[in-house]
């Protein structure tokens, strides 16, 4: 064991994880070399000073701040439970379900109109006035679809260790939600 290589073994020697033979040769060198013994003492004291640094307690605001941020996260459903497509698809059919009578009425009018158009020219006016009811229905449908998009949009599936995606989620979330809410409120 030489003065230049002994330092490589300081940690293992301190933690007593050297094979017996090597440990003995480190011990022998330290006993015969005051310089290395002094360096090892310093090493040991530095490590012990490091290990004795006190813990740092979080401030009084830590929990409240975190609770607020967690509550914001809570407003979004957990990402894995419902895949985005299922969610959008499911809600779409639900939506069609609740508006089933409107959809079928409109379809019925369209079928009648096309039939009448094919048979009589003068009924075109009637059929176009019937279609006036469509924009209203469409605007309601559109609004509802925006709402459900805002539930699912901020989630992408693999963001566990990707800071970029996390940051995007953080900042996209409030904008989308509030714009969706305010649109919903106004319409």
């Amino acid at each position: 064991m030489s003065c230049t290589t002994i330092e490589d073994n300081f940690s293992d020697y301190l933690e007593d994880s050297l094979p017996a033979k090597l440990r003995q040769s480190v011990a022998d060198h330290l006993r015969s070399c005051p310089n290395c013994q002094r360096e090892f003492d310093l090493f040991q004291q530095s490590v012990s000073a490091l290990q004795q640094l006190p813990e740092i307690e979080p401030s009084a605001f830590f929990d409240t701040d975190l609770q607020i941020q967690l509550a914001l996260t809570e407003m979004m459903p957990p990402p894995e439970r419902v895949p985005i497509l299922d969610q959008v698809g499911g809600k779409f059919w639900q939506l069609i379900g609740s508006w089933r009578w409107v959809v079928s009425t409109v379809l019925a009018f369209v079928v009648i109109a096309v039939y009448l158009m094919a048979t009589r020219i003068d009924v075109v006016l009637v059929s176009s006035s019937e279609k006036q009811s469509n924009p209203q229905v469409q605007s309601i449908e559109k609004r509802d679809l925006v709402d459900e998009d805002s539930d699912s949009f901020p989630f992408s599936s693999d963001s566990m260790f990707d800071p970029a995606v996390e940051i995007q989620q953080n900042y996209v979330f409030p904008t989308v939600t509030y714009s969706a809410l305010s649109t919903g409120g106004r319409l």
């Binding site: 293992d12 530095s46 740092i56 307690e57 975190l66």
Partner: protein, 207 residues
């Protein structure tokens, strides 16, 4: 601590994560209470800055919460390494941003020293010591904190995980996704650097 109780501790975190996946909000609160001090200490000692430490500790916990459903309980030490892995990544980003800022604006290390002093000032006093001993102790703690801040990131991270957070070499290796041999030699190298930096502060005669 007997081996059995250490394993129970780890199992408790896994159990809480499982409850969290089932939608029990209280379970994550318990996770927070169990680990918030460790997270703040880890990041504050690593960055030498308490305020950023609290922000990043909160961010780590938020990420853990959002990723809770992807967490797979495997017993052993998985939870700890998962938690420190998330926090370490945030710290690496922070250190890199600081380096970039420093290069751009030529910020002097005086700033760093002031931050470190803040950190020492908020550490609780040891009631077992006399006032003058306490002063010496504080000065030493301040010197140690400054010395940590002077270490390169690749040495600082494993050193803090090992000697301040008390992780095993295997846990440090799993946390930083580095081979065990690399981790061991970096920690030894980091301690040697620390020893040289602290030479004027720690006296070799005192035992």
């Amino acid at each position: 601590m007997p081996r059995n109780s250490i394993e129970n501790e780890f199992c408790l975190d896994d159990r809480l994560m499982l409850q969290c996946q089932k939608g029990e909000a209280e379970a994550f609160n318990q996770i927070v209470q169990r680990h918030r001090t460790a997270l703040v200490t880890f990041i504050a000692r690593l960055l030498g800055d308490r305020e950023t430490a609290e922000d990043l500790a909160q961010e780590s916990l938020l990420r853990m919460y959002r990723a809770a459903n992807r967490y797979k309980a495997e017993g052993s030490t998985k939870f700890t390494t998962w938690m420190y892995h998330i926090a370490s990544n945030l710290c690496k980003n922070e250190l890199r941003n600081r380096n970039r800022r420093q290069r751009h604006f030529m910020v002097q290390t005086d700033d760093q020293l002031r931050l470190d002093q803040d950190l020492i000032a908020t550490a609780p006093a040891d009631p077992a010591l006399q006032p003058d001993q306490q002063l010496v102790k504080k000065e030493q703690q301040s010197a140690v904190q400054n010395a940590i801040s002077l270490l390169p990131e690749t040495y600082r991270l494993p050193l803090v995980l090992r000697d301040i957070q008390g992780l095993s070499y295997n846990q440090v290796s799993a946390t930083l996704k580095l081979p065990l041999g690399t981790v061991k030699s970096r920690i030894n190298r980091a301690r040697l650097m620390l020893k040289d930096l602290l030479k004027p502060v720690v006296s070799p005669t005192e035992r």
